[in-house]
């Protein structure tokens, strides 16, 4: 079931931060991993990832470095700055709290 675009859009930043907290990645790799882990449930336009990455970079949360990938092609890798790591932790925590709150409401039996 494809998700609502706005819902996906609002979580892209969180997903990017969470994945980059695991290791350095380039843009296409991020998309690949998200698709693998969600089984392609996020049917997003791939081009929209880059403005998100650049915005985070502009905020000083990410650093970039061009490196040759496994195929030898030059790729721009992203990694979290210390500030980004802190921000990512906060965002993940915020999401968990939010999801639990939403879940708590959804799990309650219907009134009346």
């Amino acid at each position: 079931m494809p998700f609502n675009t706005e819902l996906v859009g609002s979580t892209v930043e969180l997903l990017v931060l969470k994945l980059l907290a695991e290791r350095t990645m380039y843009g296409y790799e991020i998309i690949q991993i998200v698709n693998e882990r969600t089984d392609g449930a996020f049917n997003w336009k791939e081009g929209t990832l880059y403005p998100v990455l650049h915005r985070l970079e502009g905020k000083g949360l990410l650093l970039t470095e061009w490196q040759p990938g496994t195929s030898g092609k030059q790729r721009k890798y992203y990694r979290l700055t210390p500030k980004g790591e802190e921000y990512a932790r906060e965002k993940v925590q915020e999401w968990h709290t939010f999801a639990q709150s939403v879940q708590a409401v959804l799990a309650m039996p219907a009134l009346g």
Binding site: Y26, G27, Y28, Q32, K45, E46, G47, T48, Y50, P51, V52, H54, R55, E57, G58, W66, K73, Q74, R75, K76
Partner: protein
């Protein structure tokens, strides 16, 4: 990097960033790489090439939507970068270049002064003539504030009246006798041209001044000594006055009998007094203490020269009197006054003892005592022989042999007791110079000026830093010229050089390319065996030249390499084609060859015309070449026809030639300017056929190297050089073998440093022993 199938899509998506070329190319490359990865993945899933490309495009989404989001995401960064670029181009870069050129000029002046000192041309050298570095004007200010005292104490016959007034104003001070003694040295007097046999009347004012000195300090033999020297200068021609091989009287002769008699009388009066005090070391200390603490080596050297100028001429006078004493004895013997001749010659020992009485004030004085004693005993033995007093002659000869031994030991031997070599090593050319400077004829030889060459260690370091700064400024001029060529030549063709150098990269290049080699050199130059400075510029300059050449190569090559590697890497990342390495080297070589040829043409007049100012030429030629290239490039971009372009160029060069000829008035200038014009034409032609790829690459390299060299020059001038100098001043302060007041240690009593005391005590002991044993 070849054009990708997704080039257009990526360019459309990144189109909003075109205002920042580097960012635009960076994002475009990133998006291209993404699309290619996606298409490759789709192909791996079995889609055809065309299908894969289409699906990749679809998955990417609308380029317009992505473009809008990218602009929004990068807006802040683009603004910051634009501002930084603007500030860099309009403020930082011009400021750095102007400041670097200014500092470079200052270093050039400093280097000229240091070279002048090494060359022995010390006549025009003074503390005041050296321009202060930026931020160091307090030296001049402090100097000015002390100017009155310095002027009152300044050693020049022109202001003897000032010295007298100074004494008058302080006549009740405990040190008043010192001030008068100092004045007495500079009382003006008429000199006699002995060689032409002309005599001058005795100057009554000079005599009166000395008589007054006797009243001020009756026990001091100084005034009688000065009078004796003056009278005898007027009274007799002495054969020793003439260097060997010159014309002149073969024997001594009386010029003015009255002056001759008066001179001998004054000498006897002097010898009856208990001591001879010149007070020069103390006066000099007062003068130097009146000056602010020296911060720069040039200033320190200026003070050393002040000291030498002050002390040496006076010391020469005492030695002259020694020559005159033996001449008097010879003249008397020739006239048949044998008893008087013997009595006159007998004064040699008391006179030497008198000189020794003040030898405890500085090494120069002890050196003069030894020298005077040696001169007198040598000539005394000859006179005694002529008088037939063989017993005395034998004794004096024995003393002379001992004094000669001391002299030999001071100058050449490696005394185990004093370990003189070690002393030289520790205290540098000061001591060596003092020891070498004595024992000469009564003319000032180059060796007598050796003290001016002391502390070559300091000068060599000074020259090193100044030379390196000049080198970097030259490199800056070269890359600016290079950058100007590429920047202007290709401006209209959309191949503007990129300013890619990040602050991190600049810092890294400064640290690894400039600071590290200088630090390595600094450590090397202080290693005692392989790098130690041995105080001998003339003997070691080839080695220093090789060391500096290697350092210069390292300083130019290392940072350039670092910057080039960075630019190569960025070009690869951004998909900018880098010219083949061979072509890059060829163009680099050509640029440097053109600039070096310009410099060679610039210094040609100096080689061919005596007293020409070649450095003005070099700078002028570089400016002419730069202007011509800029003009040529501008005219090309405006597509002017060839003929008017050449006509204007020829006119400009012709005007330059006329101006240069009217300034310097020598045919060589015309030849050099013609050569320069030819060089301009050749250089322009050589740049005609380069491609956009070359232009962008070389322009980027040149404009990235320019701030590096500018900041390097500033870093060396404003950080490294003061540090070097602070280090050298510290080092110089340890070296107080000659004049401990050079150390500016106000607490230390007037007298010696430990090493000077040791050296003085040793030589004075030898001297006294030699004199006693001979009795």
């Amino acid at each position: 990097m070849p054009d990708s199938a997704f080039d257009q899509l990526a360019e459309d998506a990144a189109a909003g960033l075109k205002g920042d070329q580097e960012l635009f190319l960076d994002v475009k490359q990133e998006l291209c790489a993404h699309l290619e990865d996606k298409a490759d993945a789709l192909r791996a899933q079995g889609h055809s090439e065309e299908e894969s490309d289409d699906l990749a495009r679809k998955a990417f989404g609308s380029p317009l939507a992505v473009a809008a989001e990218l602009v929004a995401a990068n807006a802040g960064r683009m603004n910051r970068r634009a501002l930084a670029r603007l500030a860099f181009l309009v403020v930082v870069m011009p400021l750095a270049v102007v400041l670097a050129l200014y500092v470079g000029y200052q270093r050039f002046v400093g280097l000229s002064c240091t070279l002048s000192v090494i060359g022995g041309n010390v006549g025009d050298y003074s503390i005041k003539q050296l321009p202060a570095l930026p931020g160091a004007t307090h030296i001049d200010n402090a100097y000015e504030s002390k100017a009155s005292l310095v002027q009152q104490l300044a050693g020049s016959s022109k202001n003897a009246a000032n010295l007298y007034h100074f004494w008058e104003n302080h006549r009740h001070d405990p040190d008043a006798k010192m001030y008068y003694a100092y004045y007495a040295i500079f009382v003006p007097k008429e000199f006699v041209q002995n060689i032409r046999g002309e005599t001058m009347p005795i100057d009554p004012q000079y005599v009166a001044a000395m008589r007054k000195g006797e009243q001020v300090e009756p026990q001091n033999a100084l005034y009688n000594i000065l009078l004796a020297e003056y009278y005898l200068q007027n009274g007799i021609n002495i054969r020793s006055d003439l260097p060997m091989g010159h014309y002149g009287p073969p024997t001594d002769e009386i010029l003015d009998r009255r002056a001759f008699t008066l001179g001998m009388t004054e000498l006897r009066k002097a010898l009856a007094k208990p001591y001879l005090h010149t007070y020069r070391a103390r006066i000099l200390q007062m003068k130097l203490n009146a000056l602010p603490t020296p911060l720069f080596t040039e200033e320190y050297l200026g003070r050393i020269m002040l000291a030498v100028h002050e002390i040496y001429p006076e010391m020469v006078r005492y030695r002259n009197l020694a020559w005159q004493i033996s001449a008097c004895a010879r003249v008397l013997r020739a006239e048949g006054c044998l008893a008087e001749a013997e009595a006159m010659m007998d004064t040699w020992q008391p006179y030497t003892t008198l000189l020794m009485s003040d030898a405890s004030t500085n090494l120069y004085q002890s050196s003069v005592a030894c020298s005077g004693g040696e001169v007198l005993s040598k000539e005394g033995a000859e006179v005694y022989d002529q008088l037939g007093i063989t017993a005395k002659a034998r004794k004096v000869r024995a003393i002379n042999a001992r004094l000669k031994n001391i002299d030999q030991q001071r100058r050449f031997s490696k005394s185990e007791r004093m370990q003189q070599d070690d002393l030289f090593q520790k205290h540098g050319a000061y001591l060596a110079a003092i020891n070498r400077a004595r024992g000469v004829k009564n003319q000032v030889l180059e060796a007598d000026l050796q003290p001016l060459r002391m502390h070559e260690h300091a000068m060599i370091d000074e020259m090193l830093v100044e030379g390196v700064v000049l080198l970097l400024i030259l490199a800056l001029l070269v890359v600016l010229l290079d950058g100007a060529i590429w920047f202007v030549l290709r401006w209209e063709r959309g191949s503007r050089p990129l300013l890619l150098l990040s602050a991190n990269e600049l810092f890294r290049a400064l640290l690894l390319g400039i600071a590290l080699p200088v630090a390595v050199y600094w450590v090397y130059s202080r290693l005692p065996v392989i790098g130690g400075r041995e105080y001998s510029w003339s003997g070691h300059w080839p080695r220093f030249a090789i060391e500096w050449l290697l350092l210069a190569i390292a300083l130019l090559w290392l940072p350039s390499r670092s910057i080039r590697r960075y630019i190569d890497r960025r070009c690869a990342e951004l998909g900018i084609m880098v010219p083949a390495r061979k072509q890059v080297w060829w163009i680099l070589l050509r640029t440097w060859a053109i600039l070096l040829t310009a410099v060679v043409i610039g210094v040609l007049p100096a080689l061919l015309v005596p007293e020409s100012d070649a450095f003005i030429w070099t700078g002028g030629l570089l400016v002419i070449i730069l202007l011509c290239v800029a003009f040529y490039a501008y005219s090309r971009t405006r597509h002017w026809p060839l003929l008017p372009r050449i006509a204007i160029l020829v006119l400009a060069i012709g005007l330059g030639e006329v101006a240069a000829y009217s300034m310097y008035s020598h045919i060589i200038n015309i030849i050099c300017l013609l050569l320069a014009s030819l060089l301009v034409v050749v250089s322009m032609y050589s740049y005609r056929r380069v491609t956009n790829c070359h232009a962008r690459y070389h322009g980027t390299v040149a404009l990235s190297l320019a701030p590096l060299f500018a900041f390097s020059a500033l870093f060396l001038s404003l950080v490294v050089q003061p540090w070097f100098i602070a280090n050298e001043v510290y080092w110089l302060r340890q070296d107080s073998a000659f004049l401990n007041h050079m150390s500016q240690s106000h607490q230390r009593p007037v007298g010696f440093s430990a090493s000077e005391e040791q050296a003085n005590a040793y030589y004075q002991g030898l001297l006294e022993k030699a004199m006693k044993e001979g009795r």
